[in-house]
Amino acid sequence: MTTGITAPGVVGVRVPGRSVRHDIRAIKIVLHREMLRFVNDRTRMVSTLVQPVLWLFVMGTGLSTLVSRGPSQGVDFRTFMYPGVIAMTVITTAMFSAGSIVWDREFGFLREMLVAPVGRASIVIGKCLGGGIVATAQGIIILALAGLVHVPYSPTLIITLLGEMFLASFAITAFGVSLAARMKNMQTFFGIMQMAIMPMIFLSGAMFPLSNLPAWLSFLTKINPLTYAVDPMRHAVFTHLDVSPQAVEALNPGVHWYAWHVPVAAELGIVALMGIALLGVAIAQFRRTD
């Protein structure tokens, strides 16, 4: 299988057989492209920031006049919303990253990837890691705003949040890719994404505390996978706040399955498992596109 060098000065190339090293290179370059695209696309960076900033400073400020006299015990409503807004930011950014697969298909670039001698898995893993990193980077901008909503810049908090953000965005990108793998145009994808993501954000406890909800709503929040991505972030923020136990009880009640308070580690485990399962679905969907 050599490709000969028949003219002086021509660099002959030999494409190697399938190997783990080759797969890793493929993953790395797909990921690299994802980041280049993100860095080059300032409009997207700004537009995915508008929504969370509106939520945090417009909705949050507006609503805080209503709720500050309630059981929140002097905790700024914006402080409460902060982890929810982080989650929202990484979720939308991750979905956008996943959606770029549909875009690649429309503009033909996907075929360049599909005809290459690499496994579909490498392409999907690269894409999901890329989506995870890009969304986390976007989240860092929100992290920088912590001081404005009375959240301390503590290194342990920042590291915890970064890890949780990456986990959540990886899982969401995998979800998005499994949706996008077989879609032919952008409109369909965004339509479906709106339909899937908005209810999930609403039911995740990103905007309201999970305590004292009516049974039906409480049930819906518990079967919503996003809940388990948002709750650890809120938990992390609240452990770094100096607030009364009543306020913690009201605003950061955690998730309960019957009487069992689901620990943060288990919640993160659920997100990780979901992420891996969705990654598997995405790879399978991709294999079927041939």
């Binding site: 299988m1 490709t3 000969g4 028949t6 003219a7 021509v10 660099v11 002959g12 190339v13 030999r14 494409v15 190697p16 057989g17 399938r18 190997s19 090293r21 080759h22 290179r25 493929a26 790395k28 370059i29 797909v30 492209r33 280049l36 695209r37 080059n40 696309d41 690649d104 503009f107 033909g108 670039f109 075929r111 360049e112 990837m113 599909l114 005809v115 290459a116 001698p117 690499v118 041939d290």
Partner: protein
């Protein structure tokens, strides 16, 4: 170029159906190593469908095919490793620079790290784009994009390069430049080229041509042999009285002439030697004479019964749209 006798591409009974549409109806052919093999046919003939089966992008409905000695269904990875592909529609990432596009390709194909940079420079210099390497691809013209895609297809030194209408929608200069690269390639790389076109004049650059129409191969041969099989030259004359001339041609020379594109046209062996007899014996004043050698157009006409333009009429609009889209 290669001593190996194994065909670069071997196709047997290859078929593809899209629902009720039989896009490819069981074709057979072989491409020899080192050859430039042309697939010539009108829009919708099944050229792209055949290429996508050979490149492992779509599964044949029936029959078998191997590329560089590997089966396109059972050994897809092996096939992919050995081919380069320039699609009919553009497949570049416009937001990346030219060099970034090539680097992406090199990594995806596992081109050894120590030669990546050098190889990228080489293929980009070949298509005269090295000085534009840092420009975003979306700022490129249609012809530049096409050249970049050809460079990318060659980056990993494929054994077989597939080019699906490499020059569609390009101006004559760019077309001839692209043919220049393809010719150069035959001398610098050990490569077999499989290309499709519906430009008659381009088919002449090929060593052998398969004419495909409605999913079937009509004939395969070298351009010269195909022309020889038509055998006759085409003579066009302008006369004072076309009808009398046509009657005279039939009566005195036994030739079947007709008015086409406003001039009396007929086919005759050794046209140039026939012209003096024409002037001597026709009996109708002749204003001008034009003799042309049989072109592939005539070959196509001869084998399919329609000119390639007529055949395109059915879906001419789509060709136009594609040509526009590339700009």
């Amino acid at each position: 170029m290669t001593t190996s006798e194994e065909p670069a591409v071997a196709v047997r009974g290859l078929k593809k159906n899209y629902g009720d549409v039989e896009a490819v109806k069981g074709i057979d052919f072989e491409v020899r190593p080192g050859e430039v093999f042309g697939f010539l046919g009108p829009n919708g003939a099944g050229k792209t469908t055949t290429i996508s089966m050979l490149c492992t992008l779509s599964r044949p409905t029936g029959g078998s095919a191997s590329v560089a000695g590997h089966d396109v269904v059972k050994e897809r990875d092996e096939v992919r490793r050995n081919i380069g592909l320039v699609f009919q529609d553009p497949t570049l990432d416009g937001y990346l620079s030219a060099e970034q596009n090539l680097r992406f390709h090199a990594e995806l194909y596992g081109v050894p790290k120590e030669v990546v940079g050098e190889r990228i420079r080489q293929v980009m210099e070949m298509v005269a784009l090295w000085d534009r390497k840092d420009a975003k691809v979306m700022t490129f013209s249609g012809g530049m994009k096409r050249r970049l895609e050809i460079a990318r297809g060659l980056l990993h030194s494929p054994r077989v390069l597939f080019l699906d209408e490499p020059t569609v929608g390009l101006d004559p200069q760019t077309r001839s430049a692209i043919w220049g690269y393809i010719n150069k390639l035959r001398h610098t790389e050990d490569i077999t080229i499989f290309m499709t076109t519906h430009y008659m004049d381009e088919a002449e650059y090929c060593d052998r041509i398969a004419i495909i129409d409605h999913g079937e191969i009509v004939v395969i041969d070298s351009p010269e042999a195909l022309k020889a099989s038509v055998g006759k030259d085409r003579v066009q004359i302008q006369t004072a009285d076309d009808q009398t001339a046509i009657t005279a041609l039939a009566e005195r020379f036994g030739l079947d002439a007709a008015v086409r594109e406003g001039v009396v046209t007929f086919a005759v062996a050794s046209g140039e030697e026939f012209v003096p007899r024409l002037f001597a014996d026709l009996g109708v004043p002749i204003r001008s004479v034009h003799v042309s050698r049989p072109s592939l157009d005539d070959v196509f006409m001869n084998y399919t019964g329609s000119t390639i333009r007529d055949a395109e009429g059915e879906s001419g609009a789509s060709a136009w749209m594609r040509a526009r889209a590339r700009r």
